[in-house]
Structures are given as C-alpha cells and as structure tokens.
Symmetry: C2
Subunit: 377 residues, 2 copies
C-alpha cells in the first residue's frame, strides 16, 4: 500500500493538459470529473454503474461522514472504499465548506470551527488536524486541507482574512498529514475575486508544498466570467507539474472553459442532483423531462448515446416516471447525467491528445446552442 | 405474434406442479413469483436487474396505468413491454381490486364501476369490457377478468352477491376478450371464505372456460390458516391442466404452503415494499436493517447469496443508507428481496422436479425459524 502516487502529463493543448494521476487503487485520467458521493453513495447509483460510466474517482464529504456514520466507525469497518463498495480512488473534502453552508456554525477561531450538526444539533469540532485525521480514518486517496470559504460577493478585507486563515490552516494540515507518499494532500487557493489575494494565496501554498492545488471559493454565486477571470489569474501561479482541481464546478460549459485554462479535476452535484429533479444533461444541452412536450415522445434522450439510460427508454417513459414520483426516474436520469459528464471528459481528453481542443470545444458549444431535438409533430 | 400460448406440466409432487407457461415473448417457469410493476416499473429496480434475479414475468396494474399515463397513450407508444423496457411476459390485473382500495368509489352497478382517481379526482369508468380493452391496449400476455373483491371478514350474503356479480363479469370478459390464442385470459374465483361459494364460483368459471384460474379475495386480512383452508377447498375444483394463480400472495411461507396446495403463480408487493422500508427477506427470515444492531456489522446480509446486493455490502452500510434516507438503500434491499423471492421459487421448482418438496419445505422453514445470525461480539 506504500506505492507512491504520481501525476504525469502526457500532452498539452494551449493551457489544457492530458494527464494521469495514479494511486495504488487505480489511475485517474485527467481532466477528470469526480461524481459526488456525499454520504458514501453517489445518490441513486450502484457503484458498478458509476464505474461503468467511466468515472475513475469519486468524492466523499467529510462533514456528512463525520456526523453519520462517523469516521471512527468507517475506519473500524475497513475504510470508506470497502464501506461504499468503491475500490478505486476517493477524494474527500475537508468538511469546511459544508460546516459553513449546512451546520449552525457556532464559532470560528484560529484553532478551527465548533458547530452543531444539521442532523441532531450535536456539537462537533473541526480543526485542520482533525480534518486530516478524519480523512485518514476514511482512507482518502486525496485529502483536502481545511479552509474557510467565503460567499461571493464579499468585501476584500473579509476575503483577505479568510485567505490568510486558510493559509495558516494549510500549513497545519501539511504538518498533520506528515509523510505518506501513497496518498496526496491538496492545498486550496482562496482570496475571493481579488487577483492580488489569489496570487498571495497560491504563492503561500506553493511555499508550503502540496501534491496538488485546488481553487476554492468559486462557483459560489458569481457570474461565469468572474470565475474564469479568477482562473486566468490563479492557474499560472500554480506549479505546472501538479494537478489542479476546481472545486464544486460545474456546468458542462464551466468545465470545458476551465479545462482550457489548465484545470485538471472537477467535482459537482449538478449531474446527480439534476437527475433527481427530472433534468437531463445531453450533448444537446439541458433537457427538462417534466415538460409535457415529452409525454408522448417515443424517442430516447439521445439515440446515439451508448448509455442504456439515455438510449433504451423513451422520453415518454422518463416523463411518466418523474410525474409518478418513481425512483426509477431518478435512477435513470442520474445515470444518464453522470454518463454524459464522463463522455464530455472523454471527448475533451481525446481532443487534447489530438491537439484540437479549440475545435472540439467549438463543436460541443454549437451542439449545446442548437438545443434539443424539435418536438414531434 | 400469433403463436398460441401453452401450459405444460413437467412434474408433480403431491399437489404441487412444476410447469412452463409459454408465450411468444418468453417462458414462465412455474411455480412463478411475479414482481409487481404497478406504474410500469418494479419500484427501485432496473428491468435488467429484475430479469437478472430470475423473474420471467412481471405484473402491471390496470388501475394505475389507465389513470397515468393512460392506456391509449401506452398503446400509441408501442405497448407496455416497450414502454417499460421489459420484453418478456406481462400479466395485468383488471383494475378492480385497486378501484375498491384506492379510489373514491362512486358507484358499483351491474355494468361496472364509476370512480374518482386518487390522483386528481377525475371520474373514470371501468366495466368488464373496458378492462379487457385496456389490458389489450397495454399488450398484456395475461389478461385478468374484472371482478369484485370484498374485504374479509364479510357476511356470507355479501360474499355471495360479489361472487355472482364476478361470475357474470367473467362471462362478459370472456366475450370481450374474443379469440386470441397468443394471449391468455384468466378467470377469478371469488366467494370469501365460504366453501360452497368458492365451489360455485369455480364451477361457473370452468363452465365459461378460461386459460387459467386465479384465486382472488384472499390475503386481504384473514389468518393464514383461513387462506390455506380456502385453497384446500378451491384448488381441487380447478382444471388440472390450467395454471392457477393466487393473487396478492404473499410471504415466503404463504407461497411455499400454497405451492404445496397446487398453486402455480403468485404476485405480491412485499419484497419491493419491504425493500423501501429497510426490511430484507433472507433464508434466515425477515431482517430489519433499521435496527441499531447492524450499525457496526461488517457482515453482508447473506454471505452465501449470489445476489450482489445481499453479498457485497455490509449490514453497517445498508443500515447507514437507510438511516440517511439514501435511495441506494431501497435499491439494494429491493434487489436483494426480489432476488430472494426468485431463489425461493427456484429451490421450490428444483425440489418438485426431484420429488422432495416436503423435505425441502421443512428445511426452509427450519432455517426461517432459526432466525438471523447472532449479533457480533
């Protein structure tokens, strides 16, 4: 189990990179999209199906798992991989983001945060050291440092305070993580939308030295253009030989445009959440299966897809399942969406390898813009 | 598509029969358990998974499907098999039972029933002829006659009135069904728990002549012994060369004891409904995964099962999923339950073939009685 992890870059196309992030549990082809498995399950999917879509890695949420079933319990049971029957790499977040967004936050101090569980009101503590410990108990292949993520827009002084705190927590995380080359520790760039703060954050993290670098604090309500501008400032300040992870992003277009700015890894609840709400992501854009236009449509979501969920069931049937509140509706759409995201990444990787990412991106965006097939009639 | 259906009996063991009910869409090995696909889906299961458990046939509900998405719409879309992506045989019920139990029943007359939908209060009509028509629109391989099913216990006079009405509706159903040997029409024996009424009902149906005979009006609240006594009276009055279907039954033990009385087909929501409520059926009986005793248990539901859901996930994980309200919990337990029911039928069929059903039944019942594996520790 002490095979060191590694990151290698096979090709470049503009700022975009084609690479492999290798762990003893398996290789992650980058650019990679990581389906979100919040509570030790990618919602409404069997792990075998997640894998069959082409996912090399999934994400687990420290905040949720520390509260239920508990990190010590998961460790007792052999770790998160065995617990959720996912033998491949797992990235765990630090818990920080969800403490801020889900719990009743009691107190943020230099040491860490004390908060109440959104489940039962019980009091918990999270520090950089405890977050690293929890992630080790879960058995994460990629551990994220604890950071403070502020909502946008925010005052520059507030962004600066949170960024500086996150840097100090980065240092403590690194120390707590120790030396275990079989697993990776990622630092997180903060600094809101202030270029100077982002640069200071990146430089500070590089000084500490991480196995990978995440860009945090984006996709929290700001316009896409602001997000992309922040990437334009931040990414060049990150080491070229380390993976770069844009946290919580995003729409297929967000991902495409961020890859073109040098991002290697993504995670987002969009494909899974949308699937539970009757929405499908396809190469023709986002489709609302609740819409009555689909009620009599015998055509599948996408007759050219190689995903059974997108190919073998009529829109009329999907519409029916959603209207009837049948679980199978969420199961099929989630599957189709995660598959679409993985196909998107697959196409992006092939395009980088061929040195034609710009053309590929243009073609994808044209198809999205053209929209769904016309109603029958 | 005009290959006639057929029923052949390969072996007998006491009153139990091993047979095949063959349709152009596939063969149904009997004794058979039919998973219930109420609204054109076996809840929380992909059709491929239903098939993989060993199911040869599923049931669809006329009442639900006529209200949503509508029988004419399903026909337009190519029929229920294509709609729900289940290419094998389907039995549809007549809608009568659910009109009585789910709708606000407006009026029962000689002609049929007028009722209000439980979904939107809209008014609908169901007659023997319309029920047969709906089932034809759906494309059912086995059509059930419309009948009136009374709740037990009930007065003898009431049971008699409903039985006589059901007989007249049986005759009208037969006439409406016409001659289509590729599909089967089943009559339904009624008569409550009154032996004389059951015998009159059976004789009347045999006079009309059906492709198969169902025993209705049981498993509606009466003790198991009463159900079995009614079978003891009714089954011998049914033609030996036709399949016999005990509607809405039941627990694994109900099924086992009914097979031993000559029943060939069953349907029940128990395995699917239980799966959505944290309950598992296993060879060691019914297990409640919500129970805290499973929270730290790394053992699977049944380490000897060849069902991935029962074999590859710990009880601790299943417990966690159920507590967290995760869809995957229902998906895995429903799968495990339907698989268990199919394994039960498989074992029963093998035992009949070998002429050792009594011994097999004794062994199964001993294992159920012995109960679940002891808690750890």
């Amino acid at each position: 189990m002490n095979v060191p992890h590694s990151f290698s870059i096979h090709a470049r196309d503009g700022a975009a990179r084609l690479g492999t992030l290798a762990f003893h549990r398996g290789a992650v082809r980058t650019p990679a999209f990581m389906p979100v498995g919040t509570a030790a399950t990618v919602k409404a999917m069997f792990p075998e199906t997640v894998r069959a879509t082409g996912a090399d890695i999934v994400l687990g949420n420290t905040y949720h798992l520390m509260l239920r079933p508990g990190a010590e319990r998961v460790a007792e049971l052999g770790g998160l991989h065995r617990f959720m029957n996912w033998p491949r790499p797992i990235l765990t977040d630090s818990g920080g983001f969800q403490v801020m967004s889900l719990s009743s936050l009691r107190k943020l101090t230099e040491d860490g945060v004390i908060f109440r569980s959104h489940l039962d009101g019980s009091e918990h503590r999270l520090s950089p050291e405890r977050s690293v410990e929890i992630q080790r108990l879960l058995g994460a292949d990629i551990t994220m440092q604890l950071d403070e993520c502020v909502a946008l827009p925010c005052a520059d002084a507030e962004a600066e305070r949170a960024m500086e705190l996150s840097l100090r927590w980065a240092e403590r995380s690194k120390r707590a993580f120790g030396s275990d080359s079989s697993r990776a520790l990622f630092g997180i760039v903060q600094g809101g939308t202030v270029p100077a703060l982002r640069l200071r954050s990146a430089a500070g993290l590089v000084d500490i030295g991480f196995d990978g670098y995440a860009v945090g604090g984006l996709a929290v309500g700001e316009p896409q253009a602001v997000m992309l501008e922040t990437l334009d400032v931040t990414v060049p300040a990150l080491p070229a030989d380390r993976p770069r992870y844009l946290m919580g992003v995003g729409t297929p277009e967000d991902i495409l445009l961020s890859v073109m700015r040098g991002i290697d890894m993504f995670d987002c609840v969009m494909p899974t959440r949308a699937g539970r709400h009757g929405q499908a992501y396809t190469r023709r854009g986002r489709i609302n299966l609740r819409n009555a236009r689909h009620a009599d449509d015998p055509r599948p979501l996408d007759e050219e897809s190689d995903c059974p969920a997108a190919r073998d069931y009529s829109r009329a049937y999907l519409h029916h399942l959603i209207k009837a509140g049948e679980m199978l509706g969420a199961m099929l759409l989630t599957w189709a969406n995660v598959h679409y995201y993985q196909q998107l990444m697959d196409g992006i990787r092939a395009a980088i390898a061929a040195g034609r990412l710009a053309d590929h991106a243009e073609a994808i965006r044209r198809a999205w813009a053209a929209g769904d097939i016309p109603p029958r009639g």
